[in-house]
């Protein structure tokens, strides 16, 4: 579960977030909307313990976001714009490295299953350098599948993914939710988001306004 209390963040002269209050319960998926530059990625980065909020504080799984960062990180996965993959390593090595840093050591079978599940099992020994953007996204997704985090933060997860990839992602999100995970995603793609989002909100003026999920129609929001 995620709880933000009055989170604000300013970069130099520009205040991106002003006063964000948000609670996402366990087994719930929250969709974060907003125009470009509204601060969606900034909010996700703050929750992923990558940046420190200028004002306010937050709790994840009941742990204080500025004090118990390492404990939060062990239970959290952030799929960001960048895929966190090393170009010179192949798929298996990338997964092994990323998970080893989290203290997890999946078996070969688990790795194979995860790669098959995201449908890139045929390219496991290829350097990531030669992967397409969509394949990289899928590999990052495989990493999240192996990590089994309680908290999943997704930043624009649908970009670069094809229809099949989108289905795999949505299925994975549903699986996380069924296991009482918490999912927070930022998106522009309302059609793809509507089926999985339990709640939704728009970032405006650096603050969050909650809206009904049914109102996620493409045109009139942004």
């Amino acid at each position: 579960m995620i709880a933000c209390h009055g989170i604000g963040k300013s970069y130099g002269h520009f205040q991106v977030l002003h006063d964000v209050n948000l609670t996402v319960a366990e087994g719930e998926c929250f969709a974060l909307l907003g125009p470009n530059g509204a601060g969606k990625t900034t909010l996700l980065k703050i929750l992923a313990t990558l940046e420190r909020p200028s004002t306010g504080h937050y709790e994840i799984l009941g742990m204080h976001g500025l004090k118990d960062k390492d404990a939060i990180r062990a239970n959290l996965m952030f799929l960001a714009h960048g895929t966190h993959l090393y170009d010179e390593l192949n798929a298996k090595e990338n997964l092994a490295f990323a998970l080893a840093l989290r203290g997890q050591h999946p078996t070969d079978l688990e790795v194979k299953q995860a790669l098959d599940r995201v449908a890139i099992g045929a390219f496991t020994d290829m350097k990531v350098r030669y992967y397409s953007a969509g394949m990289k996204k899928r590999l990052a997704l495989a990493k999240a599948m192996l990590a089994k985090p309680k908290i999943l933060l997704l930043d624009e997860p649908f970009t670069a993914l094809d229809t099949a990839g989108t289905d795999i992602l949505r299925e994975y999100v549903r699986e996380r939710l069924s296991e009482n995970g918490t999912v927070l995603l930022s998106t522009h793609d309302y059609d793809k988001t509507r089926p999985i989002a339990g709640r939704a909100g728009i970032l405006r003026h650096g603050a969050l306004e909650e809206i009904a999920v049914e109102a996620l129609m493409s045109d009139d929001l942004v």
Binding site: S10, G12, H13, S54, R204
Partner: protein, 242 residues
């Protein structure tokens, strides 16, 4: 937040620091320029010492304050301490540069050269480079939180490095140049000490006074920009909404 209150409290006495600095510097200048005799060995040139040595001392005190403030910032993350660190770095850089300048002016009539790789001059130059690097680093970071954090790290590492730099430069100097040209051995007789003490105290008070003014300046700047930034982002977003 305690340090916040301490800074506030000290700033209430800002005027006293300013007047104290003016009085001490006035007395020091009078004693140094008029009330004291010329030195037997150095002649009138010794009077440059009364301005050079306090500047150098004060800049070192300033660097110590910078390192302590940086430690405090990393511990408590109090933004006004960061303002103080940024202020003290700029002031220390100015004082170091002026100490180097007056040292060079002292060197010309004494050693007949503007510059020599004396151990102290060299380590002060490295100190100046570190401080200028610190100020440059701060201008190259977008996020104010990161700016403060990175600056604090550089300040602490540089502070630990300073004695090592000084020792290495001193050893290197003794290898390569005759010891005859050295500020060491310029013994300070008691007649010279009185104006020196006045100038040193006055310079430290002046430094504190300037530090308070500059901290206040940076704090107000941040305040103004934060408020303006909030208005700006609201304006920007309401524009893009409509």
């Amino acid at each position: 937040m305690t340090i916040h209150r301490v800074i506030r409290k000290v700033q209430r006495f800002q005027g006293w620091f300013g007047s104290g600095a003016a009085l001490c510097l006035g007395a020091g200048l009078y004693l140094g320029l008029i009330g004291s005799p010329a030195d037997y060995y150095q002649g009138e040139v010794v009077r440059i010492m009364y301005i050079h040595v306090p500047l150098a001392h004060t800049s070192l005190i300033g660097y110590t304050v910078l390192a302590l403030g940086s430690l405090w910032y990393l511990w408590k993350r109090d933004p006004i301490v960061d303002n103080m660190c940024q202020a003290v770095a700029a002031l220390s850089a100015v004082f170091t540069a002026l100490a180097l300048g007056t040292g060079m002016i002292w060197g010309k009539p004494t050693w007949d050269t503007w510059w020599t790789w004396d151990a102290r001059l060299t380590s002060f130059t490295v100190l100046l480079l570190i401080l200028v690097g610190y100020l440059m680093l701060r201008t190259f970071v977008d996020d104010p939180e990161k700016e403060a954090r990175y600056g604090a790290i550089l300040a602490i590492v540089g502070f630990v490095d300073l004695p090592i730099i000084h020792f290495s430069v001193e050893w290197w100097r003794t290898l390569h140049q005759p010891q005859s040209i050295s500020m060491r051995g310029v013994s300070i007789s008691s007649g010279l000490l009185v104006p020196l003490v006045f100038m040193s105290i006055g310079m430290s008070l002046l430094f504190s006074y300037m530090l308070m003014v500059r901290t206040q300046l940076l704090y107000l700047d941040r305040l103004l920009h934060a408020k303006k930034g909030r208005l700006l982002s609201q304006f920007h977003l309401s524009k893009s909404d409509s």
